[in-house]
């Protein structure tokens, strides 16, 4: 009979095993370039975008590269906003959320 011995490097062997981590690695955000991740972050509110900083170092550095930021004024003027407008004696409506400003 013909004996056959197959030698595989450990990392290849590891890939042959159906390994969740490897399967995920195929479609991870890891291989996406920064400009793609920025395009994702850009579509979040500023608050959500900043929150993503806890994910990893890479995600934390992304908001620095945003070409524009989405400010939701309600993030900054939580409870006092109605009083603020009363004090000003203004008829103005609350500003619309997610308006954009140049970074």
């Amino acid at each position: 009979s013909i004996g056959m011995e197959v030698c595989l490097a450990p990392e290849i062997l590891a890939r042959l095993v159906v390994d969740d981590e490897f399967m995920n690695a195929v479609t991870t955000t890891k291989k996406l370039p920064n400009e793609v991740l920025i395009s994702i972050v850009e579509k979040l509110s500023l608050r959500d975008a900043v929150q993503m900083g806890v994910l990893s170092r890479r995600w934390r550095s992304l908001p620095n590269e945003l070409p524009r930021l989405a400010f939701d004024l309600n993030d900054f003027l939580l409870d006092d906003i109605e009083n603020y407008y009363e004090d000003e004696g203004s008829d103005e409506e609350l500003p619309e959320s997610d308006t954009f400003a140049e970074a």
Binding site: T28, V36, I40, E42, K43, S56, R58, D75, F100
Partner: protein, 186 residues
């Protein structure tokens, strides 16, 4: 949309109408051929526009070695659907005040188009759109991903998008404090 051409027939096509063809044939990494309108390809992809203008389109199938057949099929499908859709007035006038470089919300058909994709297919399409310089498709797919991130805890997001937490415990605590204003609950 898959095109299966015999060699002779492809040769014939080449002779007859090299410059006049109104479609381009794209070849995926796994060798499948897809045909797409030249006009739509040039309008939606800066890379394909450059290749068409530069004459580097191969009528037997322009090799796109970085893009698998499933992603390329979605790219071509998107181009065709886009060519058929009439831009809605709402889409054009949706920009809010101060909005200098507006991202226009996906139209209904674009939403449906990305919603039916599996997680893997969505990420492959993001990559393909980025590679081909398809700004709108990249925006629409990234918008979908951003929606998938909303309302999830950091741990859930790390799991879904396979992001490795590379902070130490101490660093993470520091960052959480620093970013406390951005968190609703903690």
């Amino acid at each position: 949309m898959e095109v299966d051409k015999g060699k002779g027939e492809a040769e014939e096509t080449r002779k007859v109408a090299e410059a006049d063809r109104d479609t381009v044939t794209l070849k995926s990494s796994d060798g499948k051929l897809f045909e797409v309108s030249k006009e739509a390809a040039a309008r939606l992809s800066t890379v394909l526009a450059g290749m068409i203008a530069g004459g580097s389109i191969d009528d037997n199938g322009t090799d796109l070695k970085q893009i698998g057949s499933e992603a390329l099929e979605n790219v071509v499908d998107y181009c065709n659907k886009h060519a058929n859709s009439i831009p809605s007035a709402a889409l054009i006038s949706s920009s809010i005040s101060f909005n200098t470089a507006p991202f226009k919300e996906p139209e209904e058909w674009e939403r449906k188009f990305v919603d039916r994709l599996s997680h893997d297919a969505l990420f492959d399409l993001v990559e393909a759109a980025n590679f081909l310089g398809m700004e709108r498709l990249l925006d629409v797919t990234c918008h979908k991903i951003s929606e998938m991130m909303k309302g999830k805890s950091p741990d859930q997001i790390r799991e879904v998008f396979n992001i490795k937490n590379d902070y130490t415990k101490e660093e993470l605590e520091e960052i959480r404090q620093e970013l406390a204003w951005a968190f609703y609950d903690d």
